[in-house]
Symmetry: C2
Subunit: 294 residues, 2 copies
């Protein structure tokens, strides 16, 4: 792998460039992004040169799509006809099934692997990028082809060198999982904010503490960005919402002290489990070609 | 006000003692609490002496109940017959109507004022107490008697000296407000954790980011503590849950891109409003006796 093209030089794309550099990659890193983003990317050292998608596609061994989900879908259509043999295309989108389906239509199976770095922070843009963003975090890969290409093996080994914990699963399993762990929390945060916004009582905007601020932080996210995530995971998101609504109805109807105590307790135990889990790193589950452990 | 008794020397009680000291109170501060808590309170300087509730009641000008809601209800029953005339009893419980009703049964109206410092942090216990906990935070008072007693005027002026923003309202209005701003976020956090705990998919405990940790932080709270809060605010909490469930059903059924965008946008706008509101301090709404502005 000598030349990498990063399409979308933002928080994730920029961090990937910085992480590669820190891990010893000394090839060319081409940035494909807005004029503002590539300038900032060059200054940050996340990319070493700038090109159009067409130019980058002819030169890169790895094309890393770090755009919003709807933009990744568009880029895959443009890339299909121009990506040279031997070049691996991957993406960092928050949903996988729609992207993998689109790639299957436009790109040879061996030349694409879906990815999702389960990393991130509140800030956006390459200015917030950091080499350590992927360190000790899960990085989901959803290979299409049971036979690992050489390019995929090399990409996976770079992910390991930047400290990510590679976990492989099907695109559908990925989407079903993040519907619960990412999209549901996001929508609960938005729904909480909407519920309060609808209250005529002006004191809901005055008599509140840190808990409400915590619980409405995700609601601050870009609606545009989230629409393209939710639209590519409708079925799983609806299922997650239904499960949560069912629990909320149970809480509302938990007239019995013991019932409510049991519900609160099971929530508390799970919340503690999550906190323990984040310190126990997922085992690296890169597996022999063709096996999907999950 | 020469002698203050703090019943329940934890985060709130301890912080009240420290705040009084910092604001120049140089009378006695009696701690009534477990042996462990009063020892820690003495070491922290939050209290200056230790007594039983009976002893404290005969000496204090102000009795500050900083226990969990169910314990406050019990303490009010014990205090009624022994509190001397001229002594003001107040509490720092998270709900007000049940406590105020109990006080009305056992304590003369002029001798009790319900309170709720809308302050707090994740840690519990007097070890986490700090003099600045109430600074620039709303402090709700729910006076029973339209005529201010001298003791209430003095207590309110101490609250102002410790930097709290006193807001007066009826107990019922307080409870209806915090059902939305505090109890609902709490239950959404627990419900999210319960929803995930019920998923058979083991990856919900592995493939998650900071957003899920944020959204399940409140679920870590003590179930015991929350039960007594929720049990004294059942009606308003059920209403808040119903409103949130209604919004979640709308989100689930928002098939139309524009509908979903509108929902996400209105949540985002409200979440920003809250953040602006926390920097704009509520106006001090201590009002002439007998008027309830809200």
């Amino acid at each position: 792998m000598k030349t990498v093209a990063i399409v979308g030089v933002g928080l994730i794309g920029g961090s990937f460039g910085l992480a590669l550099r820190q891990a010893g990659f000394n090839g060319e890193i081409i940035g494909v992004s807005s004029a503002r983003a590539v300038q900032a990317g060059l200054r940050a050292g996340a990319i070493s040169t700038v090109a159009t998608l067409q130019e980058a596609a002819t030169r890169a061994d790895l094309i890393y799509l770090a755009q919003p989900v709807d933009r990744i879908l568009e880029t895959l259509e443009s890339l299909g006809p121009i990506a040279p043999p031997g070049c691996l295309i991957t993406d960092a989108g928050s949903t996988k099934a729609a992207i993998v389906r689109k790639a299957a239509l436009h790109v040879r199976a061996a030349a694409f692997v879906g990815g999702h770095p389960v990393s991130g922070k509140e800030l956006r843009g390459v200015e917030a990028a950091e080499a350590g963003l992927f360190r000790n975090r899960p990085y989901v890969l959803t290979p299409l082809d049971p036979a690992d290409s050489e390019a995929l093996q090399e990409f996976r080994s770079w992910l390991q060198r930047i400290g990510a914990h590679v976990v492989e699963m099907t695109p559908e399993h990925h989407d079903a999982t993040v519907a619960f762990t990412s999209h549901l929390p996001q929508l609960l945060s938005s729904a909480l904010a909407v519920t309060l916004a609808r209250q005529p009582n002006p004191n809901v905007q005055r008599i509140f503490g840190a808990g409400l601020l915590d619980m409405t932080r995700l609601a601050l996210s870009s609606s545009e960005l989230w629409l393209s995530i939710l639209e590519t995971n409708k079925h799983a998101v609806a299922e997650a919402l239904e499960s949560a609504i069912k629990v909320l109805v149970e809480v509302k109807d938990a007239f019995d002290r013991e019932n409510l105590m049991n519900l609160l307790d099971s929530g508390r135990v799970f919340a503690s489990t999550l906190r323990a889990a984040q310190h126990v790193l997922p085992e690296d589950s890169s597996t022999p070609p063709g096996t999907f452990p999950y």
